[in-house]
Point group: C2
Chain length 420, copies 2
């Protein structure tokens, strides 16, 4: 079937989804979680095929890890769908209600966006998460995953379709696009009268490709170069905890730390401790001269290092003169994703928050919390570093828009004598 026809079918199905009651959506999502687990044999077998092909292509390390499913991860995916089911329904929410002096009652009410196109690479969990979030918010979704995960995604979509059909919703509401050609992707991105939003998730090349060819609105983030700034007034253990968690707990994800900035007054005490802890965990360090004077094991850091999202066990380090220098560094190299300050000084924290425009600012909390699930959104469909519509982790509410419903008793703008 053509991409155009898939998109049109998805839009038609999306109208069914938009008309579902909150209770019907909960039942549908719970059924989806169940069919995901009921199909676990098929899904894991398909994932094994993908892993085998990927390994044969030389994919390894954290990139291969993103592709991998096992019983525990599949269980977590199903639980995530159940968790999304239990979230408040954003649709129909009245976000504001005002009575104007002329008697008009003006409400802002959330409605679905319509049809979302998800374009992503090798993470099969996105397939289920995106479907669940889009449905929760009354939308249809076109899923265009990466070729590495095609078997896994096909098996997951089959499980989801079983639940959709059992609940009387056209399966086209969750459409997996099998034609992974470049032309098909471009055609998808040009369906501006059918697709309301495209969300690309993946490497920079993918995002650039989508931004270049899209005629539909795009919410994206290019890179997550997340910074931790360790201020002069600081609890060492707390700062060390933030550093190790941010860098090593899952280095291949966008909310992992890439750069450590340390106030020069605290560097002589903090950096040797930090280096010991990181080196023990296999982290390669790249630092400026002042860092290398304190940490001989660090390699020299270039300008390019500070602008690199390693997504691996590598950390750039820079000793800065003060808070303002740290802010200037982040303004120069940052990607508007997540920045962390470790400080015991409330004034420094306030200045850090005010001066930076990143989507998420953490004061004494790990960058790894920059995630929809961790920040109370239930789950996330992506993280926006586009300062429009949504900024930061996006949950179900980010897949809706507020419209106006106005109720009156015949009010007109320019009252005139009537002719009869």
């Amino acid at each position: 079937m053509s991409i155009r026809q898939l998109a049109l079918d998805c839009r038609l199905a999306a109208r069914h989804v938009a008309a579902l009651s909150s209770a019907a959506k909960v039942a549908l999502l719970l059924a989806m979680a169940d069919t995901l687990q009921a199909h676990s044999g098929q899904i894991l077998a398909s994932n094994a095929e993908d892993l085998h092909d990927a390994a044969a292509k030389g994919i390894k390390g954290p990139m291969l890890d993103r592709l991998r499913l096992d019983a525990a991860r599949l269980h977590a995916i199903a639980d995530s769908v159940r968790h999304i089911a239990a979230l408040p329904d954003p649709i129909g929410q009245v976000t504001r209600s005002d009575r104007l002096p002329n008697g008009l009652q003006v409400e802002r009410v959330r409605i679905p966006l319509g049809v979302i196109a998800m374009i992503y690479e090798a993470r099969p969990n996105v397939t289920a998460d995106a479907a669940a979030l889009c449905l929760k918010a009354g939308n249809g979704v076109l899923l265009r995953g990466g070729s590495e995960a095609l078997h896994s995604n096909t098996a997951i979509a089959a499980a989801l379709h079983e639940a959709l059909e059992a609940h009387g919703v056209p399966p086209a509401a969750v459409t997996l696009i099998g034609d992974l050609s470049r032309d098909a992707m471009i055609e998808l991105l040009q369906q501006s009268d059918v697709v309301d939003l495209a969300i690309p998730r993946g490497g920079e090349a993918l995002i650039h490709f989508v931004a270049e060819h899209a005629r539909v609105p795009v919410i994206k983030h290019y890179k997550g170069i997340c910074h931790l700034y360790v201020d002069s007034v600081v609890d060492m253990d707390s700062a060390l905890g933030l550093l190790i968690d941010g860098k090593t707990s899952r280095p291949a994800v966008c909310n992992a730390l890439e750069t450590l900035l340390v106030h020069r007054d605290v560097a002589p005490r903090f950096l040797p401790l930090a280096a010991a802890a990181l080196l023990k965990r296999g982290v390669e360090l790249r630092g400026d001269e002042r860092t290398r004077a304190l940490v001989p094991q660090a390699k020299p850091a270039s300008d390019a290092d500070y602008a690199t999202e390693y997504l691996d066990l590598v950390l750039s380090v820079c000793v800065v003169d003060d808070l303002e220098s740290a802010i200037a560094h982040i303004q120069k190299y940052g990607t508007d994703h997540t920045e962390v300050i470790a400080t015991g000084d409330p004034a420094a924290a306030a200045r850090f928050v005010d001066a930076l425009r990143s989507a998420v600012i953490m004061v004494n909390a790990s960058s790894r919390f920059a995630d929809g699930g961790e920040l109370g959104l239930g789950a996330e469909i992506g993280i926006s570093t586009t300062r429009l519509h949504a900024y930061g982790p996006m949950g179900a509410e980010s897949l809706t828009v507020e419209r106006f419903v106005v109720r009156g008793e015949g009010q007109v703008r320019h009252p005139l004598p009537l002719p009869a």
Copy 2:
């Protein structure tokens, strides 16, 4: 100066604006209103030049009216700036604050978008309104008005710059782009690393041009084909008032009515009354067969008529079998702008609201209220029919985005024993 340089200068100036306190922004906007009035002689003289040139080019009727300024309209423009000054400051607003079980305090806080590019045609009031709204929301603005209004816009911008300079804000925060070439516009629309949002306001050709060439996010509306549906259970006088106000009070604007749909049960009583009132006011009627049987003066309406935004004293009319037929007509021909139902039946009103996805739904209120000023936003920078970020009239709040500020006491996602 190159477009690139103008955009970069505007971004730098926007950082000054973002750092202004609420009180400083109020003082700045009040000063802008004053300088607009102090410069009224120059502004009206410049507008007279524009009007003269436009008339020589054959522009007339409602289109010429959009370009015209006089003392009263200029006073209204200055008052609009004062009104925007007095609105609540959206910046810094905490829209949500939650404490999570792990102790993290998660706030959503409004920040400016950054740099807005306004691309518009022949309405010089947009120059002052857009500048005031963008500044109120902490943004810089690049103004690219139409050639017909260049003299007026230059004079208005000069007045605004006087106020900016007096308040220590770089005048580049409000930058009027004088190079009106096609190439310059394309260059502006490609500044995706500097311009955060483009808002085109004008005819369909302009909007298509912007959508085609933009690599920056665009919020737009193509057309406002606004419908009034007169239900079978209805107060005739009220419906007639909504019709006359919607069609005749300012036919050249996007929230004017273009199509009247009448339930067949009420058509024999309503249509002759409506036709008499409209014909008296110079409105040309184009109707389907059932309409023409009741209103002999109506010309035949084609399919193309129902898809046309006349922006003039012309009205398409169609008799429909019932509410569902009216909804189907609007779904076929509507442009997601504003739809009105005149009804005394709450169930019909509820069905109309639920079934339609337009940005503004009016129940027994004139389509002409679909305007930021009229709906309590203070003023509007445009109306979005893009279901993303904003949908419907856009005020200062639509020029902001919510980001996350998270405060903790050293929380990490995966607590580990520390190494020392």
